[in-house]
Symmetry: C2
Subunit: 471 residues, 2 copies
């Protein structure tokens, strides 16, 4: 959808830009598209995990902590589901609520290896199954590793290719930034999104279930539902360049290194974001699942909201022949109805602009990050006495002043979320439409978003997911 | 110490630069220096607060919460002293400890009004007393306001001039960014540092105890001990420009707006900072003062470490005739020995460079921020089995390869810290000295520090405090 050109203010080394451009626009690729379709047919539809939902109290290896009811693994490893009490103040208004949330206070690595093949950058993706995946197998990054994986503290074989991501030489780093996970359901969790270049002697031949794809091919696969996994979408949002010659890039013809020009007007955007951060006061206290108001164990043995809103924590038993461990149990989050993640975009004389919101989420360390235009689950607002419908709620359900230019269903990460997908809907505002904005919303040119993604921990996970659909 | 010139990558509007430059370098000022000295003699030495240390259990209005022992005001207002359990993992090493920490989950405003007088920018400071202040009265920002002050939720008269900081017009904002407080003793606390311009019809005449000062005059006062308060030092670190013509600024002669050029090499610095963030895994859990290991109420009724290290929480009774409230009690933090905050600087062909560290602090939301070269309290390391002395510990106690170019004793904020000051020591590395650096340390040119200060929440409070001594 967007053409790649010179990139200002992203930190990507100029000599890499032609390779990335070619990956997006050129037809050339090591595998032709029909081969890729066939490869996906073979590798992404042979699910080997056998999953069954069970009451939380039947999860072998997991227990509710006696003093607070939090759900933890008996070894203290993996992750916990804990309770938090939240208070969000914005100017004169105040909202208080309780909720369960995932605590996993370690930084994981989400990494993609790349290789220049014939002047075109190729990305190494993996057909990988997670217990919560819709359809079983999805296209995942080369490596998804937790701290336990890569620190080796718990023994066990490290994931294939992990070594490329542990201490990469600076010249191999194309992108490496901490980025936050879903701030509504992870407490203060960031993973490191990485794109790492390989040496010329890195083999073209990949192990089974790994494949080299170009950005053009990945962009095509993003048109299909629930195929490109959430981690890949998060990582690749860093390569969403503005088209060549637009905006600031013209000045890159001069003597300055284009990487050292900030996008025009970026300080105004940073000021607006800081204004909104100052206006939002968010407090989260860990209080234990036992003490959550409006939440409890339901008739099925799941932990759920007493009006069945938001999400619930369910238990899952997994059996497999394809992993080191033949069977395991874990809690997983289920969100019964798909949410909507939406972008409103418009054409302006300066290029494409995207309507973003300064979105406060309790699990984000800085509370306010850049969210997409729309990020909601319809059922949470229907008939709710407590929650006000967000801006453009109706427009994203039934567009009137805009038309849809992208629509897909994209899956959440399947190790923590059970068959969850969110409708990704991109709407183009009709020319000449006047749209008064609340203070939390602002039209941003794409270079501003790129700059903020490259700063790290400024653009939330829903935004990164849907921005990648613009690839 | 530094000359002001064109500023790249800070977001400060170009038309303001000459006024700020003149404030730093010109002799012109509305008050001559001898008047200022006399004004300070009169206004900063008439302490009106009568303070007395008392056991915590004697603090009227405060109580230990029955379930966890946390120290809170009976109304739930103001702040709390809570307990946290911390775990810090860096690569293979792991450190665990418990500590008390201040929780005050709201954003305050620390603001300075400025006015151009005869082409020279003047800063409105206030002679203000806090119960923990050394010497009683210090030069404070125009406004220091908590959320309770400015939201008006608790009634009471708002501070003078507060209205200028609540919703300033964009063109009045010279600087406004969230910045973190001391991450060792505040949990996830940021205040908004603001410099706000006034209209030409703003009166020259100020109320009693307020005064217009130039940056040159403030820089002079920073040579005196414990006179310019911690909030002023934090705010003014945003105006620490590189000298004109050095480094990136040369390119500002071209067509690009200088504000839109990032400092040369900034993406390498951001990459290094993200590398260190990825390597540090910090977890803080709120557990209650009652459950802290190695901490408890001592013989004097204060809450202290059982080896008398780190700091202690003491009780204070305050009586006054100068505030709305005639008497109050509060807990306050006492750090028996002064700490050392140090910068090592060197001259390089590109200009001054400053040795900064990627410093993890448990109370910083992103854990790792830029810290000064040295930030330690000597007594915490002497004979400690648990803690390793930090890099350049000995050099900052007895310089061998460097010479001191600044030495002062600067006070911590007197509403939360009891008569605490830290030695601010700036050392200049001797030319030609080779100094191998640990991974957490990096020489940074001043424009990189300015850029990061202007991003917000990247440069820690100790750094901002001592950087301002370079004014």
């Amino acid at each position: 959808m967007l053409m790649h050109g010179l990139v200002s203010g992203t930190g990507i080394r100029p000599e890499l830009i032609p390779l990335i451009n070619a990956s997006r626009s050129a037809g050339k690729s090591i595998h032709d598209d029909s081969f890729v379709d066939e490869w996906i047919r073979i590798n992404c539809h042979n699910a080997g995990l056998n999953t069954m939902l069970v009451p939380l109290e039947d999860l072998a290896g997991w227990r509710r902590e006696p003093q607070n009811g939090n759900l933890c693994h008996s070894t203290g490893r993996f992750f916990s589901v804990i309770g938090i009490r939240c208070r969000h103040r914005v100017e004169a208004s105040e909202l208080e609520w309780d909720q369960p949330i995932i605590e996993q206070p370690e930084t994981g690595i989400l990494g993609i290896l790349v290789k220049s093949i014939g002047g075109v950058m190729h990305f190494c993706l993996q057909a990988k199954e997670e217990p919560g995946n819709i359809g079983g197998v999805q296209l995942s990054p080369t490596v998804q590793a937790t701290y336990s994986n890569y620190s080796g503290v718990h023994g066990g074989a490290p994931p294939l290719f992990l070594e490329y991501f542990l201490s990469p030489k600076p010249e191999r780093i194309i992108f490496a930034r901490m980025q936050t996970e879903d701030g509504g359901r992870f407490l203060y969790k960031s993973n490191r999104n990485m794109i790492i270049d390989t040496d010329s002697d890195f083999p073209l031949e990949l192990p089974e279930r790994f494949i080299w794809l170009t950005l053009r091919q990945i962009a095509g696969l993003l048109r299909k539902d629930s195929l490109v996994n959430a981690c890949v979408r998060s990582i690749l949002s860093s390569l969403l360049f503005e088209s060549s010659g637009a905006g600031q890039d013209e000045e890159a013809d001069g003597s300055a290194n284009p990487a050292e020009i900030c996008p025009s007007g970026i300080w105004d955007t940073l000021q607006w974001l800081d204004d909104r951060r100052a206006a939002n006061h968010m407090l989260a206290r860990r209080i234990g699942l036992n003490d959550l108001q409006e939440w409890g164990v339901d008739g099925k043995g799941f932990f759920s909201h007493n009006e069945k809103r938001f999400f619930r924590i369910v238990g899952m038993q997994i059996k497999t022949t394809s992993r080191e461990v033949a069977a395991w149990c874990q809690p997983i989050i289920e969100n019964p109805a798909p949410g909507i993640i939406g972008l409103l975009v418009r054409n302006s004389p300066q290029g494409v602009e995207i309507l973003m919101q300064a979105k406060a989420e309790v699990g984000n360390k800085s509370a306010v990050q850049l969210g997409p235009t729309a990020q909601f689950t319809q059922g949470n607002y229907a008939d709710s006495k407590k929650l006000k419908k967000p801006f453009l709620y109706d427009e994203f359900l039934a567009p009137k002043m805009s038309k849809s230019i992208h629509e897909s269903c994209q899956a959440e990460e399947g190790a923590r979320f059970y068959r969850e997908c969110n409708i990704h809907r991109i709407l183009l505002l009709k020319d000449g439409t006047q749209l008064p904005l609340p203070e939390d919303y602002r039209w941003l040119p794409l270079p501003h978003l790129q700059f903020l993604i490259h700063l790290g921990e400024q653009v939330n996970s829903c935004s990164r997911s849907i921005l990648t659909c613009l690839l």
